[in-house]
Amino acid sequence: MNKQTKVWLVLSIALSLLVLGSACGGGGTNKEATPGTTASDAGTAPPTGPTGTISGVISYNGTPPAPKKIDTTADPVCGQKSPNLSTDDTLVKDGKLANTFIYIKDGTVDGGKKIGEYTWPTPTESVKLDQNGCHYAPHVLGVQVNQKLTITNSDATQHNIHPTPKLNAEWNQTQSNGAPPIEKSFGRAETLIPVKCNQHPWMKAYIGVLKHPLFAVSDANGAFTIAKVPPGKYTVVAWREGQQPEEQTLEVTVAANGTAKADFAFPKAGAATSSTKSSLQMLPAIEFPMMGKH
């Protein structure tokens, strides 16, 4: 074997291993933890002492779109268990909007420090996400960075959990009926991560990942409460899903043992809904790197 042949042989083997490595690796790994974002990093502990509360109600302006019926017949189990499943992206009851994610985005704690400078401990209890009736429950949820997310399957069919984050690592894992819960966590703060099921394309959920526990999801009556907020001035964000997810912000001041009000109304007065936009307005450019995921 001459020298040139050896070089080509080594190069070919290296290339093959590279392709194999990229093809075989990655599936269910969770490698998103990065310095500066995990709760295990040394940092300032959150302030102790009396705290306050932020509470409010999310209203819906105008007539909400009627829920759309989902065709679940592609999977007989779904068809049998949830024959009347419909979309839950805009759940409105008496003018109040459920499934809105509200969180403190920024702000200054009394004493002068920014909220982002504190490091909250990672909760030991996990957050549950269940697949029941070919439907994610809850539809919108929040976790802290590195907090355990426990995913269960209550259906007699297999599901496929596939979060599509931008900052955390993407993964895609099948969960058969009767399979043990899947435990995952996200190492970076990110609001909000869409989750879908590639087996049942109508199944969607959204996960808000934050470095602190100061978040809430509006209930069926549109109400929410963020408890144990250190006294200070904050920027509160309310996020709701949609073809173009909508965010609104509000500045609030929280006093010790006090309750600050933060009411929001969607869609913002005067904002056009997606159904009223012209076709070209409906076609926003998306990121277009050739290696980007779709």
Binding site: V19, C24, Q199, P201, S275, H294
Partner: protein, 307 residues
């Protein structure tokens, strides 16, 4: 000429067309990641094909069948075909189908990166082109074709048809990229839509002029006029399907899941695009078969049997 070989090559080409439709159904149903593993589906050879797994695993089964058929075709060619370049094309077809399978696996394992998914869709068209070419080269009409002596016109038909073919191929790449750039629940990128519309105009001009030139210059040669007429008819259908696909895809993000008519129309658009491509290939190959290169009429007419 072996009639059995030609029939089998046509069969493989038809199976490949069916495979393209199966692949398009995977994309339209957003089923590409219905199972995260490859080559097995959820760790099984025959999983329960419910939900989107029906489309993804179904596509894998059809692809496996086409792979086996391609191997058989290569053996058939090897034993029955004397022309070495046809044998080489058979080897190329096998390499292409293997590469296509690997690309399919890679795009699943890497969770559908745009470049890999688009390459997978593009190579599918090239493989289809190869199987159709094999069917053409082993056909009686190809073997028995006699040269046409007169090439009337300023620009040789060979060049016109080749230009149309290259334009269609570029348009197919654009279409594949557009299709894989956003799932049904997201809006398509405007830049790519505009590029694809521009491509459609270019294809219409190129293929229209090539086909009409064939019909005008050689109306007596059915060997040339049949694919030219078919290409024109398919082009008209494809333009209509393209408009319909755009209209239905526009509303798709507001649907709770991929629904008809969006699925059927976009799949029909992909399938018809493939047919326009291979019909143009047949036309182009035939122009090379019966029309001499400019300034080389005498030497070509003397050795048509080599083709």
């Amino acid at each position: 000429m072996n009639r059995g070989l030609n029939r089998f090559a046509i069969f493989v080409a038809c199976a490949t067309f069916f495979l393209i439709i199966a692949g398009a159904l995977v994309t339209s149903n957003d089923a590409g990641l219905a199972t995260p593993d490859w080559p097995l589906s959820n760790g099984q050879v025959f999983p329960k094909m419910v939900g989107n797994l029906f489309w993804e695993h179904g596509h894998r089964m059809v692809a496996t069948t086409v792979g086996i058929l391609t191997i058989v075709l290569l053996f058939y060619i090897w034993f029955k075909e004397k022309r070495s370049w046809v044998r080489k094309l058979g080897i190329f077809a096998l390499c292409a189908v293997v590469a296509q399978g690997l690309l399919g696996g890679l795009t699943v394992k890497l969770m559908l990166p745009l470049a890999v998914s688009s390459a997978h869709a593009t190579l599918a068209q090239l493989f289809f082109c190869t199987t159709v070419s094999l069917a053409v080269f082993t056909s009686r009409s190809w073997i028995e074709a006699r040269p046409l002596t007169e090439e009337k016109g300023i620009l040789p038909l060979r060049y016109l048809c080749t230009g149309a073919l290259v334009t269609i191929f570029l348009q197919l790449i654009l279409g594949a990229t557009l299709r894989h750039s956003a799932t049904w629940d997201r809006h398509l990128p405007v830049e790519l839509i505009l590029a694809h519309i521009g491509g459609a105009v270019a294809v219409t001009l190129m293929l229209g002029s090539a086909s009409l030139s064939v019909l005008r210059r050689h109306p007596e040669s059915r060997f040339l006029t049949r694919p030219a007429k078919l290409a024109l008819a398919l082009l008209v259908i494809q333009l209509g399907l393209g408009i319909a696909a755009y209209m239905t895809r526009l509303a798709s993000p507001n649907d709770p899941q991929p629904l008809n008519p969006m699925i059927s129309i976009t799949v029909a658009h992909v399938a018809c695009g493939a047919l326009v491509f291979v019909t143009t290939i047949v036309l182009t190959l035939r122009t090379y078969r019966v029309l001499p290169a400019a300034g080389n009429e005498a030497s070509w007419a003397a050795r048509p049997q080599e083709l």
